[in-house]
């Protein structure tokens, strides 16, 4: 199905491949990441590479930019086979890349960052460079201050600096690796406006994404990558989003959500059928988890949490949305007993846990599933030991651990949570999905009254994500109060009953789920409107 070069391109562009990848293979150990990938990129097109996490998208792009060496395969630029061993080679062949984590030197100015790839050893004429930066910015219609320190810019602005870097090197091909993952919706629009301006000038843009609506709206061609192989390349105009989703995940369903979740809020959500495991929203019940005017100091004078008030009732999932770094992590730390607030009160089921340590927090009935999975387990210890590590006193026999009960406990949970591991496996050897299941099992098996969970599906495949979502909805049905912190809007919209939005350490808005649209949330996330 990978009829790459014969695929028609958008009208008005010359169908001449600028860059071709042929039969690219790459494996790490016995994990095959790219399994004979063919891909071509034509002048003036926006070519989207669509695939799930772990499909091999980023590896493929890193190979094209010389950051990773392929095991075999050929790269052609303008028809000629070339060797791209380092980013320098890629730049020399007119290929630029904006990596997911920006390759910027934060204490340096915009101009210094932009000229980094072309400087020699001698004196740098920063005045000329500055002028060229402004010209490049003008070409793509963005405003930048060439003298600003990159570290002081917003994420959207930093991304623009990355694009300027590529332009400054006279790239004809621009690779964008998950460019929208870190942006608020408004910045996403600006980004694609820039991309269209670039392609009008004859550049070819290759962007990778796992977001269907983005791909549908902004690309001329789309290639679907699944398990290291291109399963289809087609003009985006012909592509039915539902069919693309199927190609991407390799099966026809996707998503677990609340029975009453809004369907039309997002094109992707429209694909998800309500599943039978979800429950009707229970009538309003008692507040279980409550924060009153909680503040947390940060570095310097700025507060990382600034008077946060929040309550979660029994049988309710409250979602916390926001661009990463606006206090979500600190909020979770406070709730988990890892940080003591300088003001305010936190209660769980009426018990004051303000400033208490993790043990008191757990004993009050709060289950914690923090964002950092690896930091929440002891990698060298076995699955069974990690499962009881928060509750060792219950598994004592005299001064020792009761091994038989620990084993029985582990076996029961492995069965119930379908964890693919033996009780004695070191937990560090598990995949992200299985590790997350162990964490869920550890927390949920204690039947907590309230659950705090952060980025629960980050890095998980579709199957594991569904499992995690279903478990959270089951807890809600069982009457637990769930606080869900996530940067994934779709996840929030699918699971939460109410959403609050955090910006710069404050809660800037609360949106009932029926009124929550990405546009409205985006404004709140950008701190633009209440």
């Amino acid at each position: 199905m990978s009829s790459v070069s014969s695929a028609p391109s958008a009208p008005g562009t010359a169908a001449r491949p600028v860059v071709e990848l042929r039969d690219i293979r790459k494996s790490y150990g016995d994990l095959l990441v790219n399994d004979g990938v063919d891909l071509s990129l034509e002048e003036g097109e926006v070519h989207a590479v669509l695939g799930e996490n772990g499909a091999g998208k980023t590896t493929l792009m890193r190979i094209l930019y010389g950051l990773t060496r392929p095991d075999s395969g050929e790269i052609r630029v303008a028809g000629e086979p070339v060797t791209i061993a380092t980013p320098k080679d890629a730049i020399a062949h007119g290929i630029g890349m904006v990596t997911q984590h920006f390759a910027l030197v934060k204490p340096m100015t915009v101009t210094e960052n932009v000229v980094l790839s072309e400087i020699g050893l001698g004196r740098v004429n920063l005045a000329t460079a500055r002028r060229k930066v402004l010209e490049a910015a003008d070409r793509i219609g963005v405003a930048v201050d060439p003298d600003a320190r990159v570290g002081s810019l917003s994420i959207g602005e930093q991304q623009r600096v990355e694009i300027l870097k590529a332009l400054y090197n006279d790239c004809r091909v621009l690779i964008l690796d998950e460019p929208t993952a870190v942006l608020v919706p408004q910045d996403v629009d600006a980004l694609f406006a820039t991309v269209h301006r670039l392609t009008e000038q004859g550049m070819a843009v290759l962007f990778i994404s796992h977001k269907l609506h983005e791909v549908s709206a902004n690309s001329t061609r789309v290639s679907v990558l699944r398990r290291g192989r291109i399963v289809e390349t087609m003009p985006t105009g012909n592509a039915d989003p539902r069919a693309l989703a199927e190609l991407m995940v390799g099966r026809p369903t996707l998503g677990v959500r609340r029975a009453d979740a809004p369907v039309a809020a997002d094109p992707e959500l429209a694909l998800a059928e309500p599943t039978g495991t979800t429950s009707e929203p229970p009538p309003a019940k008692d507040v279980v988890l409550q924060l009153e005017e909680v503040s947390l100091g940060g570095s310097g004078t700025r507060l990382t949490l600034d008077g946060v008030s929040l309550s979660v009732r029994s049988g309710e999932i409250v979602g916390v949305a926001g661009v990463s770094g606006n206090g979500q992590r600190e909020l979770v730390d406070v709730l988990c007993g890892m940080a003591a607030p300088i003001a305010g009160r936190v209660t769980v089921g009426g018990t004051d846990i303000t400033g208490r340590g993790p043990r008191d927090v757990m004993n009050a009935g709060l289950g914690r599933i923090p964002e950092d999975r690896h930091g929440s387990v002891v990698g060298e210890l076995s699955v069974e030991h990690n499962l009881v590590i928060e509750d060792l006193d219950s598994y004592r026999r005299g001064p020792f651990l009761d091994r038989r009960r620990v084993r029985a406990h582990a076996e029961a949970l492995i069965e119930r949570f379908s964890i693919k591991a033996k009780p004695t496996d070191p937990i560090g050897s598990l995949s992200g999905g299985n590790m997350q299941k162990v964490l869920l099992a550890r927390v949920l098996s204690r039947d907590p009254r309230a659950v705090v969970v952060a980025q629960p599906s980050r890095g998980l495949d579709v199957g594991a994500t569904e499992f995690v979502h279903r478990e959270l909805l089951d807890r809600r049905a069982a009457g637990a109060a769930v606080l869900l912190v996530s940067e994934d809007l779709e996840e929030l919209l699918a699971l939460a009953d109410r959403l609050v939005v955090m910006f710069e350490g404050r809660i800037v808005g609360e949106v009932p789920i029926a009124e929550a649209t990405p546009a409205r949330l985006g404004l709140l996330m950008a701190g633009e409107a209440a």
Partner: protein, 298 residues
């Protein structure tokens, strides 16, 4: 009572080795490498400079030998921390121990038991003028080396590369800059400066080689660079402060009014000042982003 002009003159002499070595350390640390080989590099610089000057009779050839040794010492650090990815603390202390040991061993083989060998050392420029009567190397440090390194880091491609690999080596790599080569270059250049600082002790101040000649000056420079927040001119300022207090305590020792104060306390005074300065300025330090981190492409 205290001769201010003599004090300033002595301060400049005492500061010179610190200025060279601290400037060298700024260079390597801006590239992301804490070079704890500094003490050994100064020590071996002092010895190799002395050795070659003693054999050839020329302090200039001695200086050249020290510079070569410093480049080699920097390359050794590079081999350990850049190529092999060894922990920087371990590699640096190992390098220092190796260089001090090798210097003392060679010294014992060649000059063991005999009388102190005096070399034909550098003379003073303007010997009759107070304050300005200094060694050439002091003038070179203040008028050539420090401004040059400042300019290098600030306005040249090489300097931008050094800062980039020290702050975000991934970004430098993605921009087509060789992280390894840049770090080697910073280490070798920095090593040459450290060795020059050491050689100043034998070739200009003492005129011979004695055991423990660097006397912890390398460690002082490590503190000075942090105090200076990885900037060249503040490092010079720190060196002058340390040397000033050092020169002052030497004057105070021979001042009758202070004769009651124990000599040991006086000797400790400059070190106490450095500790106090570090403590006072140590809040909110922003280390180079890739400090202590070896770089491996993912």
């Amino acid at each position: 009572m205290i001769d201010i002009l003599a004090l300033i003159g002595a301060m400049l002499v005492a500061a010179t080795p610190l200025i060279y070595a601290a400037t060298g350390e700024v260079l390597t640390e801006r590239a992301g490498i804490l070079n704890l080989g500094i003490e050994g590099t100064m020590y071996a610089g002092a010895f190799s400079g002395f050795l070659v000057a003693a054999k050839t009779g020329s302090p200039w050839l001695g200086l050249a030998a020290a510079l070569v040794l410093g480049v080699v010492a920097g390359a050794l650090m590079g081999l350990l921390v850049v190529t092999l990815g060894v922990n920087q603390h371990v590699a640096g202390i190992g390098t220092t121990l190796l260089l001090i040991g090798a210097s003392e061993f060679t010294n014992r083989l060649l000059y063991g038991g005999g009388a102190l060998v005096q070399i034909d050392k550098f003379g003073l420029l303007f010997p009759d003028v107070p304050v300005l009567g200094q060694y050439v190397l002091t003038y070179v440090a203040l008028i050539v080396v420090v401004p040059f390194v400042w300019w290098l880091l600030r306005a040249t491609g090489f300097g931008l590369r050094v800062r980039a690999v020290g702050e975000n080596p991934e970004a430098a790599d993605a921009a087509g800059i060789s992280v390894a080569r840049t770090r080697y270059a910073a280490l070798m250049g920095g090593g040459a400066l450290m060795a020059a600082g050491g050689a100043f002790l034998t070739l200009a101040v003492v005129g011979t080689f004695t055991l423990n000649i660097s006397n912890g000056r390398g460690w002082v420079c490590i503190a000075l660079v942090i105090f200076a927040r990885w900037r060249v001119w503040p490092a010079v300022l720190g060196a002058l402060l340390f040397a000033g207090v050092d020169a002052l305590q030497l004057q105070l020792v021979i001042t009758p009014a202070f004769s009651g104060i124990p000599r040991e306390l006086m000797l400790a005074l400059p070190y106490l000042v450095v500790i106090a300065a570090l403590a006072a300025s140590g809040r909110g330090l922003v280390y180079p982003g890739a400090y202590l981190k070896p770089y491996r492409r993912a």
